[in-house]
Symmetry: none
Subunit: 228 residues, 4 copies
């Protein structure tokens, strides 16, 4: 219960694991650039800490240390811990949506589109820190209605909308038999979410082959299995 970072573990250079742009370290960097860099470092460090411990248990001291910044500096960029958390989640979610919204325009079959989506999802979400963000939202959602709202609006609502359209197309084209599926796009997404949760909590008990899982699920929806 006490595996906290005790040393300035992180170098001053922020990692870009969330896709947050890290300005090149070459040039002396302008004032504004330096500020943005620091802010990014804080966000990045905070994300790690929040994921690892949850909102309340995270100490800004640790965030600062991990970001290579003084504690007070956090308050130059964020009003308080709560604001940091909320902006953080927002920031982290944007590229998430961006990524998945880039669903290839249904050039090929709907099944291909979903297959591509599944692949991307596993690679970009389930196997990365982004998956933990989803868990974080599930965990803290009830205490941060603002975040749940934002998440519903920006991710759930839009994501399910796109999915619904795709399903409708599949039904129209005859690829999908089950017509009612368009009413519950959640069904299509459900195993992906389960995969994320499983990775987070149970993978060490029983590793899950997410690719296979999603393929079977698509088989269920589309009826026929395509060669892997």
């Amino acid at each position: 219960m006490s595996d906290r970072p005790r040393k300035p573990a992180a170098s001053r250079a922020p990692r870009a694991r969330t896709g947050i742009a890290a300005p090149s370290r070459a040039a002396p960097a302008s004032r504004a650039e330096r500020a943005a860099e620091r802010r990014a470092a804080i966000v990045d460090a905070a994300l790690d800490e929040f994921i690892a411990r949850g909102f309340t248990a995270t100490r800004l001291d640790d965030v600062a240390r991990r970001a290579g910044v003084a504690k007070g500096t956090i308050y130059l960029h964020f009003k308080d811990k709560e604001t940091l958390f909320e902006e953080l989640v927002r920031t982290a979610i944007v590229p998430l949506v961006g990524r998945l919204a880039t669903l290839p325009p249904p050039a090929g079959s709907v099944r291909d589109a979903l297959e591509a989506f599944a692949k991307t999802f596993i690679q970009e979400v389930a196997s990365t820190r982004r998956g933990d963000i989803i868990r974080l939202i599930l965990a803290e959602g009830p205490r941060f209605p603002a975040i749940a709202d934002f998440y519903y609006r920006e991710v759930i609502s839009r994501g399910l909308g796109a999915m619904r359209a795709l399903i409708a197309l599949g039904i129209k084209r005859g690829e999908i038999r089950e017509a009612a599926l368009a009413d519950f796009p959640q069904i299509v997404v459900a195993p992906a979410i389960i995969a994320v949760i499983w990775k987070s909590l149970f993978d060490r008990h029983a590793p899950l082959d997410a690719h296979a899982l999603l393929r079977v699920h698509l088989d269920l929806i589309f009826g026929e299995r395509s060669a892997p």
Copy 2:
């Protein structure tokens, strides 16, 4: 961010919302009974608080007030906050498993069995505090490996095992076409979990008809829709 119970909000009578037996209040009750009663009240109150705020943000002061006992009394029953939390989750999970393990032996069709399961799940889990317990485990799991372990062993592993057997039966009987489904019982359960999460986080944005959702999902698996 500060909607905490400030007054002895709860009467001395423990609620039995989790199925924890509340001894009849009529008789004077023996010493041991009184103790069990108090313990139950604490567990019950703590569950509410932990669900509402998560482990770290929960104050034992609030738990005590809600349970109608003095703070010190908690320590007569539990070593510390962590132990309270862990025993709590264990206690809460047992009836959960009990409930669902009572899956009717496949007298009728497998589809009927799953339909019954879905119904029970929605009634007994998704619409009650038990659903929140699942969310609580998702939220705190990473910080309480002991709980994640216990949950995997007692619920996930056993539940998926039973589900797998049922699926195998369905395949053998020809009810289920997709043979690979037996490898991923998670797929069958996924929408139920999603429904629980949805209830917790998004129901106020867009109420979900869980019954319909699960029915469509079963249609997907069994191919044919039964009359509602």
Copy 3:
């Protein structure tokens, strides 16, 4: 810092290490006897605990456990922790004084008398729990003026008085040359006190031969060494 007794280490029979009389366990014992016995057990246990931890750090829970009594029982015999402590010290001191006041009437030489005193002191005080009581008084005295007062009156004052008389006799008889010694009987006693403290604190660093120490001191006072 946490070597507390966790088990009912002591049998129900009180030890009589302080010279507190333990009624014979044979007969069923009258009501009053039983009570006295319990009280003695409490006193005895409390003495051990107070010596080991000091007043504040001692927990009545531990005292009760060690005495083989319920916590509430202590309050049937003593008003509160403070009273227990004060009565305790009084009780423990009385036999101490009794013992040493039995200085053999100066039948033989004064040196013989002091030699006997030294021997008794080492045997009955320095090597027993009684020595620790002295240390306990040193430690808690300032916070328990009542005890310091009592101790001064009953032990210090009377003891030094007796010692002064003995010294005067020695001077009169020509055994002691240094006449001014009668003004400071503390000097005669000092090494004995030092021996007690040493036993308590430093004996494990450098064991002290208290007998030899006191003999040399007597040689200093009486000038000539008697054969050991």
Copy 4:
């Protein structure tokens, strides 16, 4: 039993009663200086409290108030209460040893040296808070072996060593007749310790003329009285 300081009794200026240097308050003082100053104030206040109440009964709240700092500030300088106590005693002991180790090299007679020592001891120890520190160590020693060890090593062992050398010199020069005294330097020091204890506990019952006491003791050792 409840004479605790309730108000910010101490001004922000730390007292220097222990010989801990108090930086001049005139200049604005650098960051480091301010820190050292605060630390000194805490040590000073803590010493008072520990002496007055003992380790366990001392409340850090009181220490903070007396030092004129916030409670949290204590934890910027010391890991916890125990560490504060131990460092405190160490800090307080160093100048004690320093003072007494400055025993004038035996330019004159050994008796003169001891006379000087006695004088210094009474002035610098017995009549100051330093004497209470000795009592504090006697009191808490058994519960703080680290402190007892440190004290033995730094004070007792070295002090007795020096004393032994001095005694040997006295014997060699013929000033001291009792040859065995070199084996028990404790005897020479004993009355000084007794004086300290007496001051602490019994002086209000019967004031002790420590100077006279020690002079008589020296007469006992050296045989002849020098003019006062």
